[in-house]
């Protein structure tokens, strides 16, 4: 598969990590579900994330059957769908938010397929920089992976704790932007502690790729973010942000700031 064409949008992620690297800082990637708790508050949440110091926003495209997600993100997706969220409206949200930090769409395959051939270029036009699809592992669908890999968006691939080393290399080779390392077996959500095997998994992955490595799933507190941040290039916080978004913009801002401070400390 060819590497993505050099367009400004996908490079926004690379530039962000280059800048972080120069400053010896770790990236803070924050997930929110588009349209949750409602469309206007979703817009406020995005601005709060940027203001609070997030480096990258993962914007969830809601799907009716999110098999990789735990209860918090499931409920937020269901609520977003009830609010009438569609792929077009997600792009509209990206466009209206006009964030200066990169936006990565986080989706299941089906809503993207339903949006048609131009789904990815339209996302780039609206200002998105990358896309991550939870249910397209490497080799699952070469034709569509090529479509995803050759779009103006960075194509972020996932590595799991169960992924063997050879396959890690294969995954990294077919992705761009950064590699998303799933920290533990299971679905998205909160947990008390991080997997004991994480340092070893990260070093195994590090030996196969030069792409930045961001670790997600189960990271919710500043202390966890700090701990994982010492091992990786970035951390992804999802369910905790979604829960804060339900409380309000102030809660999102406070959580993002505390995560930022923990990572920079």
């Amino acid at each position: 598969m060819a590497s993505p064409p050099a367009t400004t949008s996908s490079n926004a992620i690379a530039r962000r990590f280059d800048a972080l690297h120069r400053e010896s800082r770790r990236g803070l990637v924050c997930y929110v579900t588009a349209g949750h708790p409602d469309v206007s508050r979703s817009l406020e949440t995005l601005h709060a994330l940027q203001e609070g110091g997030a480096d990258i926003v993962e914007l969830g495209v809601p799907f009716s059957d999110p098999i990789a997600d735990g209860p918090i993100i499931q409920a937020s997706s269901q609520r977003a769908l009830e609010n009438g969220m569609t792929y077009d409206r997600v792009l509209d949200l990206v466009e209206r938010a006009k964030l200066t930090i990169p936006v990565v769409l986080f989706s299941y395959l089906n809503p993207i397929l339903a949006a048609g051939e131009r789904a990815l270029t339209r996302a780039a036009d609206s200002g998105a920089s990358g896309i991550l699809i939870t249910d397209v592992p490497v080799g699952a669908d070469p034709k569509r992976e090529e479509w995803l890999g050759n779009s103006p968006l960075a194509f972020i691939r996932l590595v799991a704790p169960t992924t063997p080393r050879d396959r890690m290399a294969e995954i990294a080779r077919h992705g761009s932007g950064f590699v998303y390392l799933i920290s533990r077996l299971g679905v998205t959500g909160l947990q008390e502690s991080t997997a004991a095997s994480l340092p070893e998994t990260i070093s195994r992955l590090r030996s196969t790729t030069a792409l930045p490595i961001c670790v997600g799933f189960g990271i919710s507190t500043p202390a966890q973010a700090r701990k994982v941040g010492m091992l990786a290039d970035g951390v992804v916080v999802g369910s905790a942000i979604v829960r804060a978004a339900e409380e309000g913009t102030e809660a999102v801002l406070a959580l993002t700031r505390s995560l930022r401070e923990a990572l920079d400390a």
Binding site: S64, D65, N110, A114
Partner: protein, 394 residues
């Protein structure tokens, strides 16, 4: 990257799952192929199908029903299997495979409860730990099956997300598997899910078609003109169709649930009214809206109440090898009554769809034709539901 043809039926199927499951699916793929080449495994499966399930299931003639239809009708009696449906063929095969792979914890999803009961049954037989996910709505509709599963030591977990039916139970079972993939084995109940499940479940269910073919030749001295089976996910249909696919003279008909009518928007006819999409790990015809959100299915029968369908059925539809039709809730209930009155066989509501279509479309067969219906399950489980709905005759 090479095109993935191993895991597909034409364009359909595949492995659209979180990365975490990929090594487990590869392990399963290899273990299944290896087991099926090992005569110790197939020998034990055959022995248990005989002594525990009660196979071969009979092929019954149906004189009064044949008279109603106007040609000879034969019934493949999966309702006479232990636990009362075809589901045990697959549950037994996969439980043996799980044991061979050293997995002691079994996960399953269930709609009507027939698959859940079959899995709980084989887990009791082999001393395996069993967790069954079932939609809360289905638990209400099929209370008796919940009792049966619990009686046999299974944990039945109510699923309260989404539509609270089979679709959401399947999502929840997949989430459990992602979380416990190292020590757990997921027994999918139909020819759906990521590869190798559709192929594996089909192969374990093919015993239906293999027996039926031999029995037709023995009883009728011929192959059937048409084979009719109900399709939700489509495992009884794939099981009876598969050995007949090379016999081009044999028409294969899958009957989906038209629910309250195909135009009502409340049905489960994925093949007739769906468009290809990805759900639960494979690409297949799917009921969905224009935004790619899965549309809730409806059927009077919990076992057909699923918005997707096995990918091989999508392939058989597109290649024209099989025909897919549908009957409504009301027609299915009528079908249940007809077979009960004419043959003393109470079919499951799922099966009743196939029965009802044969009656409804009987004009298509000539006197010398022979129709084979897969009686996928027995209807005892429906009695509470149809009584509650006031559908029992006075």
């Amino acid at each position: 990257m090479q095109a993935d043809t191993v895991h597909r039926f034409g364009a359909f199927g595949g492995r659209y799952v979180p990365e975490t499951l990929i090594p487990a699916l590869e392990e399963l793929d290899a273990a299944f192929d290896e087991a099926m080449r090992d005569s110790k495994f197939t020998g034990e499966l055959d022995r248990l199908l005989k002594e525990y399930v009660g196979r071969p299931s009979p092929l019954s003639t149906a004189p009064r029903f044949s008279e109603e239809v106007g040609c000879a009708v034969y019934l493949k009696r999966e309702d006479l299997n232990h636990t009362g449906a075809h589901k045990i063929n697959n549950a037994l095969g996969q439980a043996l495979l799980a044991r061979r792979m050293g997995k002691r914890r079994i996960i399953a999803e269930t709609g009507a409860g027939q698959h859940g009961v079959a899995v709980a049954t084989v887990c009791a037989r082999f001393g395996l730990e069993c967790t069954v996910y079932m939609g809360e709505e289905d638990m209400r509709r099929q209370e008796l099956n919940v009792f049966r599963m619990r009686l046999m030591g299974a944990t039945v977990v109510p699923v309260r997300s989404g539509t609270r039916t089979l679709k959401d139970a399947t999502s929840e079972a997949i989430r459990d598997w992602v979380t416990n993939v190292t020590d757990s084995y997921y027994i999918i109940g139909s020819v759906v899910g990521p590869a190798p499940y559709p192929r594996m479940v089909r192969d374990f269910q093919s015993v239906i078609g293999l027996e039926a073919k031999a029995q037709m030749l023995e009883t009728a001295g011929r192959l059937p003109t048409s084979i009719v089976a109900c399709v939700g996910g489509g495992s009884n249909a794939m099981g009876i169709f598969h050995p007949f696919i090379p016999d081009s003279s044999v028409e294969l008909v899958g009957v989906e649930a038209a629910g309250r009518g195909l135009d009502s928007g409340e049905h489960s006819a994925s093949l007739e009214r769906g468009v290809p999409g990805v759900l639960h790990g494979s690409l297949s015809y799917l009921l969905q809206d224009e935004s790619g959100q899965v549309h809730p299915a409806h059927s009077i029968s919990a076992g057909l109440d699923y918005p997707g369908v096995g990918p091989e059925h999508s392939y058989l539809k597109d290649t024209g090898r099989a025909l897919y039709v549908s009957v409504t809730d009301d027609e299915a209930v009528e079908g249940l009554g007809i077979l009960s009155r004419l043959e003393g066989i109470i079919p499951a509501l799922e099966t009743s769809h196939a029965v009802a279509w044969v009656v409804k479309d009987k004009g298509r067969w000539k006197e010398n034709d022979a129709v084979l219906i897969c009686i996928s399950g027995r209807g005892d489980k429906e009695l509470a539901q149809i009584t509650e709905m006031g559908l029992l005759p006075e």
